[in-house]
């Protein structure tokens, strides 16, 4: 297997997995918060928030990438501040790829979570409150376990989207082998050079396997969680 993929290809696969893992993990808490707010709270600007969350789904990815560069680049408002305060640089680094992937996958994550939260009967949460449980405990012991199937589905969808993210990533962090060259960027690069079809095809195969694997695992986990939630 290690001979089958060249070092550049291995690097691209490893980087993509790393980026997708962190982008999924870091966007989950925000995703849950936003989905909960959209599902349960009434507030001014709810439609604006909903629109903002879904924007990356509709905008050309290259536009999202450019906006990220403007905001989070070293001269950008947020980017400059991050570098001065935390020494954190995003543009042209793998950390930037994490941000780009997280933003692009966010709408999918939030949609799945919102549907799951809306399916939880608020009466169960009320019942928990009457038993003396404060809000955060109700969320942790009633809401969260009940949305677990949706959460898994959303996370896997987000992970798969992050694995495949290309446009925003290449615009924001470029395509530096070993640093920001993710799987799709590598495939794109191989296709630009003569004789690159073979490694490109191998990476395409890897992409398909990873995506299928992720879907299967999520399906299994979600089914198990759903059985538990159904109370059977």
């Amino acid at each position: 297997m290690s001979d089958w993929l060249g070092p550049t290809e291995w690097q691209a696969l490893a980087l993509s997995l790393k980026v997708s893992f962190w982008s999924t993990l870091l966007s989950l808490p925000f995703g849950i918060l936003v989905a909960y707010a959209l599902a349960r709270w009434q507030f001014r600007g709810k439609q604006v928030l909903n629109g903002l969350v879904h924007l990356p789904l509709i905008l050309p990815p290259v536009v999202t990438g450019y906006l990220l560069l403007l905001t989070f680049g070293r001269r950008g408002a947020v980017g400059g501040w991050l570098e001065d305060t935390f020494g954190l640089v995003l543009a042209f680094r793998w950390t930037g790829a994490v941000l780009a992937a997280a933003i692009m996958a966010f709408p999918l994550l939030v949609r799945a979570l919102r549907l799951a939260i809306e399916a939880v009967d608020p009466k169960l949460e009320q019942a928990a409150a009457t038993l003396g449980a404060p809000h955060w405990w109700v969320f942790a012991t009633v809401t969260l376990p009940l949305i677990l199937p949706g959460l898994i589905a959303g996370a896997v969808l987000g992970f798969a989207k992050a694995m495949g993210e290309f446009g925003a990533t290449i615009t924001f962090v470029s395509n530096i082998p070993g640093q920001t060259q993710t799987l799709p960027s590598a495939i794109y690069t191989f296709l630009q050079v003569p004789g690159g079809e073979d490694p490109a095809l191998r990476l395409v195969a890897v992409s398909v396997v990873v995506a299928m694997g992720a879907l299967l695992v999520s399906e299994l986990l979600a089914r198990r969680a759903a059985r538990r939630v159904a109370g059977a």
Binding site: L124, A127, T130, L131, H135, A230, G231
Partner: protein
């Protein structure tokens, strides 16, 4: 322990203004659907914020619109048993039961073991709510509320979703709760039979107002309440003691007005019972009847006669310390020349009293 409620709230086209006191025991909020019963209980629990008013439990303010105070739901410590159970589907029965224990006051209250025995839950502990029958679910819901060690229990039609067999299965548990714990219970119901069996205090609601409140025996034997209770459902509740079980299948009860013979019931001798006697099951007679098959002939006197719009009249009669209602036709009342204060006889047919209308007192 006493709950005092005085709230105003608009509910669709209905303007609620409900004020009452609920002392220890079971206080039944009785009324047809749409009279605001659930709104009141939700307001007491803190699930609904009334537009204005004041709710207080034993001196502690739960809600007060004047000062803007409202205790959050989880700090009110009121156990709520919902009509639909609302068990947590992803937890076992045991986990459901102990959910509120983490937040319960440590000092006093029943243990898991005591509640399990009281409600007969021993065989269910490791099951999931999805595998329980409706009656079992409600018993678990009651146990779960009890184990949160509430200062008061709120029950919103806990039996309404159950068939009569399941109701009969749960009623004795509720009676035990009433008689063996000192937790006051606010019990919402539109069933006169349930109220008669369980309530110590009755608050009758109509169109968002309290039309009558008082001790159950008094309210249920009030001829002016017959319209609210429904003529077929109207009937008084007697407190009695089991004197003997006879070999011919009858049980003899003693009450303040004498003896009653009823079909055999499974209540030990000398224990207190409550018997509901429907107004339509009581006959009146000017003279002591002779050669009649009915076993229960009580000397009574008339306290009040109420005429309705229909062909019937309701006669309130006194037997010893207890009061009964009799529903007879106006024609009979005229023919017998019944007057307030007259000494007459009431006849009650033993077998007409429904088994479910006899309960622990």
């Amino acid at each position: 322990m006493s709950l005092s409620v005085d709230i105003r709230h608009r509910l669709g086209t209905l303007n609620l203004h409900i004020a009452f006191q609920a002392p220890t025991g079971i206080t039944a909020l009785f009324g047809q659907s749409g009279t605001g019963k659930t709104t009141v209980v939700d307001a007491v629990a803190g699930l609904l914020r009334p537009e204005s008013g004041h709710i207080e439990l034993s001196g502690q303010i739960l809600f007060d619109s004047a000062s803007g105070r409202s205790l959050p739901v989880h700090r009110r410590r009121l156990g709520y048993v919902f009509q639909d159970g609302r068990l947590f589907p992803h937890m076992s029965v045991r986990q459901n039961l102990t959910y509120g224990q983490r937040f319960a006051a440590l000092n006093k209250g029943p243990s898991l073991n005591e509640v399990t025995i009281l409600l007969g839950l021993n065989d269910l502990l490791d099951r999931r709510p999805g595998k329980l029958s409706g009656g079992e679910k409600q018993r678990v819901a009651i146990g779960r509320a009890l184990l949160s060690r509430p200062r008061m229990l709120l029950m919103d039609e806990p039996l309404a979703a159950l068939d009569s067999a399941r109701k009969a299965e749960i009623l004795p548990y509720l009676e035990r709760l009433r008689d063996q714990t000192d937790i006051p219970i606010l019990y919402v119901s539109h069933s006169v039979a349930e109220v008669a069996r369980l309530a110590t205090t009755v608050v009758v609601l109509e169109a968002g107002r309290v039309v009558r409140a008082g001790r159950a025996e008094v309210v249920l034997s009030d001829p002016d309440m017959v319209r609210q209770l429904g003529v077929r459902e109207a009937g008084a509740v007697l407190s009695a003691t089991v004197r003997a079980h006879h070999a011919d299948g009858l049980t003899e009860l003693a009450f303040s007005g004498g003896r009653l013979f009823l079909p055999r019931m499974n209540i030990p001798e000398r224990s207190p019972t409550r018997v509901r006697i429907l107004a339509q099951d009581v006959l009146l007679s000017r003279v002591a009847p002779m050669g009649l098959s009915a076993l229960n002939i009580l000397p009574v006197h008339i306290i009040a006669i109420r005429e309705g719009s229909g062909p019937g009249v309701i006669v309130q009669i006194q037997s010893g310390q207890d009061r009964l209602l009799a529903r007879i036709t106006r024609r009979s009342a005229d023919a017998m020349e019944l007057r307030t204060g007259d000494a007459i006889y009431a006849v009650i047919k033993s077998v007409s009293i429904a088994r479910t209308d006899i309960g622990a007192g």
